[in-house]
Symmetry: C2
Subunit: 441 residues, 2 copies
C-alpha cells in the first residue's frame, strides 16, 4: 500500500535556498519585497497541492563577513505580516511562520498565530526555533546568544505558555447574543495565570480559541535537545537531508522518543528537507545545478566555508588547499547540520574551499528527471526515512515552478500526493487531532 | 478658501466604538474574528475616500469587572496580521495599527511596519501608545503598569530606535545585479548600533528602507507628556473630542509645541475623534443614539462608571443616586479624557450611574442629518479646532456604512474631501514629506 506523504514548500531566502539563487537568469531579485513574488510562490505550491508553505526567518542581517552584505540576497518580509496577506491570495494551503522563542513574548505570539488561524480559517502553523546567532542577540539587548540548553528550556516553557493562552476560552465560550446582551460565557473562561521560570503571564487572551485549537507546530529538531523538545511538543519536525541509512536511523530514533513521551508516533511527521534540481532530462538538471553552484562568488565561498567549519580562511584564494583544523569552538551558536565540516571530515585532504563548498552543495541536492526525484521521495517514504518532505527550491520562482510542472504529476500518478484538497483545516489534512483544552487539575 | 481635511476610519471595538454596539440589530458579532467583517469596513472607508483606517488595540482582556466579560465585545484580531490581509483587499487607503512601545521590542516593530509598508506599497502607519492598564503589565511579566513619565521616556527612545533601524539602508542600497553578483552596496549600509537607556540594538534591519521612508506615525496625545512626545516625533495626533473652545485651545497649544520643537506645524495634523450618529432625519439619528445607549446593561453601566471615576459603586442600582468623591487614585493607569468624571464635576448632584453614563455618552457624540454632521466638521476645521477627524463608528458595520452613504457626498460637495484618490503613498496624501535618512554626525 502506498503511503500518503506530506509536502511543504520552503522559502528559505526570497531568491531560493541557494545563497546566490537570486542570480539565476529567471530570478527577479527586485521583487523580493513585493507581495507579487510570494503570491506566485504560494499559488504555485497550492497548484501542486502542497500541505503548507513554510517561511524561514532570522532576526538579523548577516554582515559578519563582507561577502554576506555584497552577494547574499537575505532581505526579507516579516513572516506573519506576509502570511496574512498570502492567506487572502490562497484558499487551502497551510501557512507556516518561523518564530523564535528566544526573542519573543508568549502573549504576542499566541495572539498573532491565533489571529492568522482565524483569518485563514484554520491554516496557521509555526516553525518554532530558538535562534542561532550572536547577531540576533545584539538586536535584542544582548551580546551573545543564550546558552543552548537554556534556549530549549525557555522554548519548552514558551510553548506551554502559548498553549495555555490559546486555551483561555472554551470553543463555545461566546454566545454573542444580541437579545440577552451576553457576549461571553464567564464559566467558559480559564485564566492561564502562568508563573514559570522564564515567563509570568496572567491572560486571558483577547481572542477566541484558534479554529485548529492549536495551530500546527513544526520544529527543526536536529540537536539532542531539539529532538527531545520536538518529541514532547511538536506536530512535525523538519530535519536535515541525510544519507538514507542515517535518515532511517534518525527517523526511528525520533519516533521512539515521541512514543517514550507518551504520544502517538503516527501522528508526528518527520519531514526532511529535499532540494530537488529537476529537468526534462538528467543533463538539463545537472547543467542547472552546475550553473547555480558557479553563481557563487569566490569571496562568498571562502567566507562561507570559514564560518561553517569555524576556521578563518578569509583573504585566501578559493582554490588554495588548506589543512582542516577541526572546530573546537565552544560558542553557543548552532551549526547543525554542518555539511561543510562533514565534507572535510570525510573527504580527501588537503582540499580547497571551492572543493569543500561544491561537495557539500552536491550532497545536499537531488538532481534528475521527475521520475528520478519521485523515486528518491518514494524510496525514503517507503523505507521509513521520512513521512514527506519540506521542499527547498534552490532558486525562486523557477525551482518550485518546475517541481510543480514536472514532479507533482508524477507523485500524483503514484498515489503519493492527492490531486486536490479535501475540505478542512491544515491539522485535518495532516491527520492530526484537534487538541482538546487541557482541563486544569 | 476651503481647507482639505483628513479623515481616518476608526475600529475601536470590532462591534464599534460603543461598548455594546455589537448588540445593534444590524451587527454581526459572530463575524468579529473573520476577515470578511474587516474587509467590508476597509472597503467602505475606501469608497468614502478616507485617508486611512485605524485599528485600536490592547494587550489584555478586560476582566476586572464581571460585566466586562459578560457584555463587552472586546475579542479582536491582532492589528498587524489583520492589516496585512486588508492590504490585499484595498488599493489606496492607509493602514494604521496601534502598537505599544511599553511591551514591544524596536527590532520587531521596525521590521513588521517596514514589511507592511512594502506589502502595501507605502500605506503603513502606526498609532504609538504606551499602554494603560495593569492587565497589560500582567501579560508581560509585571504586576503594575510602568510609571507614566517613564513610559513616555521609553516611548521616545523606542521611536528613535525604530527610525534608526528604518535608516539601516539608503534608498538605493540594493543594485541586486545578477550580472555582477552585487546584491547590496556596502557603502550604503548604516548600522544603528543604538545604545540608550532602554534599548541596545545593533541592527542593521534585514529589510530595505520602507517606501514611505518612515511609515506615518500617529499618537493619542492627551496628557502633557503625551503632547510633548507627539510634538517631537509624531506626524499626526488623534485627540479626544472636546467642546469647541477647548478644542481650539488644545489645537493652538499643540501646534505651538510643534513649532517650538523646530518642526512645521502645517505638516502636523490634529485629528480629534468624532462619533457621528447620522440619520436621514434628525429624529432618526436621535432614535439610533437612544437605542445604542439603551443597549448597555445596568451592570456594565455601574461598573464602567465605577472604573471611570475611580469610586466603587459595584452592587448598586444604576438608578441609585450617589455622592461623588473625586478621584484621589494615584495609580499609573491613564484615564484621560474622562468624560464620566467630567460629567460629574459639571453636572447636578447627586446623580445616578445611569445619568452620569448617559450624559457622558451624549457629550461624546454628534447627532444629526448629514448636513448637520458636515456643519460640525466644517466649523471645527474652519475655526482651527481640527485638521480633520478620526471617525468613530458607534456600531459596525452600520455607522460607517451610513456615514459613507450620507455624509461623504456632503463633504465632497463642500470640497472638504476629495472624490477619488490621487496616486501616491499615505504620506503623500497627508501632505507630509518623505523623511530623508538622518545623516550621522
Amino acid at each position: 500500500m502506498t503511503r500518503r506523504i506530506h509536502l511543504g514548500a520552503f522559502a528559505f531566502h526570497p531568491g531560493g535556498a541557494h545563497v546566490t539563487g537570486w542570480r539565476h537568469e529567471t530570478a527577479r531579485p527586485d521583487r523580493h519585497l513585493t507581495i507579487g513574488h510570494y503570491k506566485h510562490f504560494a499559488q504555485t505550491a497550492e497548484r501542486g497541492v502542497f500541505d503548507t508553505i513554510f517561511l524561514a526567518d532570522g532576526l538579523y542581517f548577516w554582515d559578519r563577513h563582507p561577502s554576506g552584505v555584497d552577494h547574499y540576497g537575505q532581505l526579507r518580509l516579516e513572516p506573519l505580516t506576509l502570511l496574512s496577506a498570502l492567506a487572502v491570495h490562497t484558499s487551502h494551503i497551510g501557512l507556516a511562520a518561523t518564530i523564535s522563542t528566544t526573542y519573543n513574548e508568549p502573549y504576542h505570539v499566541a495572539r498573532s498565530l491565533a489571529s492568522l488561524d482565524h483569518l485563514s480559517r484554520g491554516r496557521a502553523a509555526w516553525n518554532l526555533v530558538t535562534s542561532r546567532y550572536d547577531e540576533e542577540a545584539r538586536n535584542f539587548g544582548g551580546d551573545h546568544h543564550l546558552d543552548h540548553s537554556r534556549r530549549y528550556e525557555r522554548g519548552e516553557e514558551f510553548v506551554r505558555t502559548v498553549e495555555e493562552l490559546w486555551d483561555s476560552w472554551d470553543d463555545d465560550a461566546f454566545p454573542a447574543d444580541r437579545q440577552s446582551g451576553i457576549f461571553a460565557d464567564r464559566s467558559r473562561l480559564h485564566t492561564a495565570d502562568h508563573r514559570g521560570e522564564f515567563f509570568r503571564v496572567r491572560g486571558p487572551l483577547n481572542i477566541a480559541r484558534p479554529p485548529q485549537g492549536y495551530p500546527v507546530q513544526f520544529q527543526a529538531g536536529g540537536s539532542p535537545a531539539g529532538q527531545q523538545l520536538a518529541a514532547r511538543t511538536a506536530d512535525a519536525v523538519f530535519a536535515g537531508y541525510r544519507p538514507l541509512a542515517e535518515a532511517q536511523a534518525f527517523y526511528a530514533g525520533l519516533k521512539q522518543q515521541v512514543e517514550d513521551a507518551g504520544r502517538d508516533p503516527e501522528a508526528f511527521h518527520i519531514l526532511p528537507t529535499l532540494q530537488p534540481v529537476v529537468g526534462s532530462t538528467r543533463s538539463e538538471a545537472e547543467d542547472l545545478a552546475e550553473q547555480l553552484l558557479a553563481s557563487t562568488p569566490d569571496a562568498l565561498i571562502v567566507e562561507d566555508v570559514s564560518h561553517s567549519i569555524g576556521q578563518d580562511l578569509t583573504g585566501r584564494s578559493a582554490d588554495e588547499p588548506f589543512e582542516f583544523e577541526p572546530d573546537t569552538d565552544t560558542s553557543n551558536e548552532s551549526r547543525s547540520p554542518n555539511r561543510r565540516a562533514d565534507a572535510l571530515r570525510t573527504g580527501d585532504h588537503p582540499a580547497t574551499p571551492r572543493q569543500v563548498y561544491a561537495r557539500s552543495f552536491r550532497e545536499g541536492i537531488v538532481v534528475g528527471t521527475a521520475a528520478e526525484v519521485a523515486d528518491t521521495i518514494e524510496e525514503r517514504v517507503e523505507t521509513r526515512a521520512a513521512d514527506g518532505f519540506i521542499v527547498q527550491s534552490l532558486t525562486l520562482p523557477y525551482s518550485l515552478d518546475r517541481f510543480v510542472e514536472l514532479v507533482t504529476p508524477e507523485l500524483q500518478r503514484r498515489g503519493l500526493t492527492p490531486e486536490s484538497y479535501a475540505p478542512g483545516t491544515l491539522r485535518d489534512r495532516l491527520g492530526l487531532e484537534r487538541p482538546a483544552r487541557v482541563v486544569p487539575a
